[in-house]
């Protein structure tokens, strides 16, 4: 796709002026890194603060008397457990028990929910979700192009964002949010993220994106805030062993195989789309599951590398990368459950060489509380 055909977030120009190296990401022109480079960006987020444009993510409002019932039927987690101002991680399952997408569900009120979905799957998700609507009394609105989303992440994220808002941030619990104002702009301030650090995701009107972005960069300059590109976003989430759709999750991957049993509420009232298929898989037992590994020889396993136990091909790498903070070469992979235990020795085919690796516990990185 030529660069002119790519979709742009409201911060496209801002990224270019910061030296962003723009790439095609699921049809979006996004910065893969800025002039500091991925390692510096990654480290800054771990040690101080990083700023991410995630405006390419999709937002879908679900409103009406049956909002909770509807979203409960089309997602795996139990929406009835959410209270106002709370969000949770969930999966949009298909009939076969695979994943159309993974998403966040925000509860604004008993009749108002917000679904935040992946950028590259927004159109697919919208088509899927609207097609699932039966006689439920709900209104669906695709607000993806109306909203920007900026993530400020890292140990100093709270103090920097606090300088721009009168909303008390520290009482907002993890996976909770408030409607507030940031730099005078109406915003949803959500204590969520995709980095393994404390931090916030701020949603606001798309035409306020540049103002918020520049004010956050200015407010964080004393703490060395850096804009972070997609490359750092990926290595940060990988160290935290968070799933990435298209890698650990997909249309033909069960949430059980992706270690998402904890958000797959098979017993919830009314069930959900694909519930029976997932129940069946649970009974028969999964034959592969996502596990973490560390390389034990020099070399970096990348996505798609085949995994061997002895001469037998037993699995495949779903995400593999150097881990800038841990200074190891790590990855996530599909392995048979009996080979997915910490300490298991495996070999990974890296361009024709079978290199030693070991299954390790995940997450690879956990921040100190």
């Amino acid at each position: 796709m030529s660069e002119n055909e790519l979709k742009r977030t409201p911060l496209n120009e801002a990224h270019r002026s910061l030296g962003g190296k723009m790439v095609d990401f699921g049809g979006w022109g996004m910065p893969v890194q800025y002039s500091a480079g991925v390692i510096e960006e990654h480290m800054r987020c771990r040690t101080s603060v990083g700023l991410f444009d995630v405006s390419h993510m999709g937002e879908i409002w679900v409103e009406g008397p049956d909002a909770i019932a509807f979203v409960n039927r089309i997602t795996t987690n139990d929406v009835t457990k959410l209270v106002d101002g709370q969000a949770h991680y969930s999966v949009l399952p298909n009939e076969a028990g695979g994943c159309v997408d993974d998403l966040l569900v925000y509860r604004f009120g008993p009749e108002k929910l917000l679904l935040v979905v992946n950028a590259g799957t927004t159109d697919k998700d919208w088509d899927w979700i609207t097609a699932q609507k039966r006689d439920e009394d709900v209104t669906l609105k695709n607000a993806s192009s109306d909203l920007c989303q900026i993530a400020i992440q890292g140990p100093n994220a709270l103090s920097i964002l606090q300088g721009l808002t009168e909303t008390e941030l520290s009482p907002i619990a993890y996976y909770h949010f408030v409607n507030g104002r940031v730099d005078g702009v109406d915003a949803i301030i959500s204590r969520t993220g995709y980095t393994g650090e404390d931090g916030f995701e701020v949603y606001a009107a798309a035409d306020k994106a540049v103002q918020l972005w520049e004010r956050m960069l200015a407010e964080g300059s004393g703490e060395g805030i850096l804009p972070c590109g997609l490359a750092a976003r990926n290595t940060l989430r990988l160290e935290a062993a968070m799933s990435l759709y298209g890698h650990e999750l997909g249309d033909d991957i069960s949430p059980l195989e992706a270690n998402l049993g904890w958000i797959t509420k098979l017993k919830k009232e009314g069930g959900f789309i694909g519930c029976d298929a997932i129940e069946k898989l649970k009974e028969s037992g999964i034959t592969r599951k996502i596990a973490g590994f560390e390389m034990r020889e020099p070399g970096i396993a990348r996505d798609g590398c085949e995994i061997y136990s002895g001469d037998e091909k037993v699995g495949v790498v779903t995400s593999g990368s150097p881990a800038p903070f841990l200074k190891k070469n790590i990855g996530l992979a599909f392995l048979p459950p009996e080979l997915a235990n910490a300490g298991q020795q495996i070999r990974i085919d890296v361009r024709g060489k079978r290199l030693a690796a070991e299954v390790v516990p995940t997450p690879f990185y956990k921040r100190a509380k």
């Binding site: 190296k21 480079g37 390692i39 490359a231 990348r302 361009r351």
Partner: protein, 129 residues
């Protein structure tokens, strides 16, 4: 703009070659390191390995991707830069000095004359932008 030292030769695969008698020192250019991003691992051949022209002799890995590196000319490896094991970032910080990769005894020293001059490489970069 990329740094392209005058005294070196260049390949269209973005390697630089310093010729000294029948020995060629090979690394990747400033343009190449910049395109790759942060280099985290360099896989190099062993001393004594022989390569023809334009054969893969190793790879450079950045956080995001792996790129093969090709011999700009044929010959036998006489030295490899072991310093890159501990400091692969030298390829980014100092591509023309500390970031050198291998030295080769050229099979045919005439091959070096066919490589690009600094001015030609600069033209090549402009044309491919």
């Amino acid at each position: 703009m990329s740094n392209i030292p005058e005294n070196l030769r260049y390949s269209k695969d973005h390697e630089w070659i310093a010729v000294d008698g029948d020995v060629a020192t090979i690394g990747i250019t400033d343009y190449a390191q910049h395109s790759l991003g942060d280099v985290v691992y360099v896989d190099l051949p062993r001393v004594g390995d022989k390569f023809g022209t334009h054969e893969s002799f190793g790879s450079v890995e950045s956080v995001k991707a792996v790129s093969e590196i090709f011999t700009p000319l044929g010959g036998e490896v006489t030295e490899v830069n072991d310093g890159l094991n501990d400091a692969p970032e030298s390829v980014n910080n100092d591509p023309y000095e500390a970031g050198w990769m291998i030295k080769m005894k050229m099979e045919n020293a005439g091959e070096a004359d066919a490589l690009l001059s600094a001015a030609e490489y600069e033209e090549y970069l402009k044309a491919s932008e």
